[in-house]
């Protein structure tokens, strides 16, 4: 099993979700994060003092899936999330040692 962690632009969430659903992936966990990267933030002025907003709002999607889905899933995410503009985000892949569905106590690929 692998875990895909995708950092994407917030407004791409729905498209990525649908792309994953089409692959038969039925579960994922999503959170709001702030990203710092090549996409530089903007400089703003608040009551006369300049400051840089260099942490931009991003969405993090986490999906644990079986190894055989990995390639298609990353490709689908990349396709759905791409705008071609800087700041589109990243896909990271991590090894997963175990997964358990709390409700049924199933483990492994059954659990996800």
């Amino acid at each position: 099993m692998k875990k895909i962690e995708a950092i994407i632009k917030p407004f791409k969430l729905e498209e990525v979700k649908e792309a994953l659903s089409e692959l038969g992936i039925e579960g994922m966990t999503v959170s709001e994060v702030k990203g710092f990267g090549r996409q530089k933030g903007h400089t703003e002025i608040y009551r006369g003092s300049e400051y840089t907003v260099d942490f931009l709002p991003k969405i993090k999607i986490e999906v644990v899936l079986s190894d055989n889905l990995l390639e298609r899933a990353t490709a689908a995410i990349v396709k759905a999330a791409k705008t071609g503009k800087i700041g589109d985000g990243k896909v990271f892949v991590y090894p997963v040692e175990e997964a358990i569905r709390i409700r049924t106590e199933e483990t492994g690929d059954q659990a996800i």
């Binding site: 703003e44 002025i45 608040y46 009551r47 006369g48 003092s49 300049e50 400051y51």
Partner: protein, 488 residues
């Protein structure tokens, strides 16, 4: 057990305090401005309607009439005028009251969410305690009549009257004999609402770092003892009044007073951590809720109709409507001017500056709302709106950290509004300058003394850790927006 013991302690303290006030109000010499003050069980008997007067006048023997009824007999039109005047003072007091919600919202909106409960608490506390101490001491210190302790400069205060029972005292305090515009009670409550404002202004400037208890003590001392002193100089008929100083509703007496008291406190406190960086950069600390700040400013604007409009001290039509016009236009002009100024100087239109600009315009016109005509009132507002932006930038430049711009809005624009009466409102420029400078200075020094003493005794600043973590948890153990919480 512990609880009960504590409770007994509290009730003892409180009972004692009230008993003291009772005693002094009952046995002390009559408070100035009140004829007598023998306690009376109930005052249900005081209600009179002119209507009734006429009817009873025909039927009942005159000796059965209550003193106020007797007074108004045959003066039905004067009664009506007095009723509308007094009603306006009361409504105006309610409007000024709501300014305290305005302050609470502006101050909490323009600061961080980790200090919100603290700021709200301070504002709630100040308006409550301000009314009480004004009743216990301030009112009579500020309006001493002829009872000056040190000629036209200082009068010792005393509790307000508890009731009026002698017919003469009733008439001389509760009819137009007291004042064509209001009863003794109307007078008190309108002035009481003003009193807490000065301390509330300080609250915003010292936000996010001041220790709660010393602030509460300092603010209480300011509002109880100091505000009435400078107030007496002008509205109490003191030395400034005699010089011809003009400050209609308090650009100086209330706002500059608060602004300069705030300045002293801020100097003693120092800036918030990490506000001014070692490399000379200024790190802005963003306000956590623009809707809250906006609600606050609208509440203040609304309240200002009572603040300025009520300062006509009657419902006299020309005065009230003129003041409504100048107040509205100056506030509006301040808002527009500050918006445009921030747009040009700071690249983008800054809502917080627009909001400050409205307040600046309102503070600016407060001294001359009655005396300045509408078009110059707009000019006063425009200048205040520009001034406030520059002033906020300036204080930040010299590292005086005022999270909500209180010193600029109330101090600087309070000064400006007062001298503006010397330019546009027929006032004497020199006297206006003298008046606003001397009161600002007095407020500054008194505040320096009070908060300086508190600093020496107990410290006035929270620990760096508490500042990082927020005063809500540190001082109150209560977050303003507690989020998810373990569920068992």
């Amino acid at each position: 057990m512990q609880i009960i013991r504590n409770l007994t302690r509290i009730s003892k303290i409180l009972t004692f305090t009230v008993a003291l006030a009772f005693a002094s109000s009952a046995f002390a010499e009559n408070p100035p401005g009140a004829e007598q003050a023998v306690p009376q069980s109930a005052s249900t008997t005081q209600i009179v309607v002119a209507e009734t007067v006429e009817v009873t006048a025909d039927q009942a023997p005159a000796e059965e009439l209550k003193p106020t009824e007797k007074f108004w007999q045959g003066k039905a039109a004067d009664y009506a005028t007095f009723a509308v005047n007094n009603l306006w003072i009361c409504i105006a007091a309610a409007l000024v009251f709501i300014m305290h919600l305005g302050f609470a919202c502006v101050e909490s909106g323009l600061t961080q969410s980790k200090n919100t409960t603290n700021i709200l608490f301070k504002n709630v506390f100040i308006i409550c305690v301000g009314m009480l101490t004004y009743a216990a001491y301030g009112f009579n210190s500020m309006y001493p009549g002829d009872n000056w302790t040190i000629g036209k400069i200082f009068a010792l205060g005393s509790p307000i009257a508890n009731s009026f029972t002698e017919p003469d005292a009733i008439v001389s305090n509760l009819t137009s004999e007291y004042n064509p515009g209001y009863t003794y009670w109307g007078d008190f409550i309108f002035q009481a609402m003003f009193a807490a404002t000065a301390a509330t202004i300080v609250s915003g400037a010292v936000a996010e770092r001041v220790k709660l208890a010393p602030f509460m003590i300092g603010a209480t001392l300011l509002v109880t003892f100091i505000y009435p002193i400078t107030g007496s100089w002008q509205w109490g008929g003191g030395w400034l009044k005699e010089m011809g100083f003009a400050d209609f509703a308090g650009s100086t007496l209330v706002h500059a007073f608060g602004g300069y008291a705030a300045l002293a406190a801020v100097l003693l406190l120092g800036p918030r951590r990490n506000k001014y960086l070692p490399d000379g950069k200024i790190r802005p600390i963003l306000g956590h809720s623009m809707p809250l700040a906006t609600i606050g400013v609208f509440m203040l604007f609304l309240g200002w109709y009572g603040f300025n409009g009520g300062s006509v001290l009657s419902a006299e039509p020309v005065g009230v409507s003129h003041v409504f016009v100048t107040t509205s236009l100056a506030g509006a002009a301040g808002g527009v001017a500050a918006s445009l100024t921030s747009w040009v100087l700071l690249r983008k239109p800054d809502l917080s500056m627009a909001l400050n600009g409205i307040l600046a315009g309102l503070v600016g016109i407060t001294a001359g709302a009655d005396a300045i005509n509408p078009w110059p009132a707009i000019l006063v507002g425009i200048i205040a709106g520009i001034l406030v932006v520059i002033s906020v930038l300036f204080f930040d430049k010299i590292k005086i950290d005022d999270p909500v711009g209180a010193i600029s809005v109330h101090g600087v624009c309070g000064n400006w509004g007062t001298v503006a009466v010397g330019i546009f409102g027929g006032g004497n420029f020199g006297v206006q300058l003298l008046g606003t400078v001397s009161i600002s200075l007095f407020a500054f020094l008194a505040s320096l003394l009070i908060f300086g003493a508190l600093k020496a005794i107990s410290g006035i600043r929270v620990s760096p850790e508490e500042e990082e973590e927020g005063l809500d948890v540190g001082e109150h153990g209560q977050q303003a927006y507690p989020d998810f919480m373990p569920n068992k």
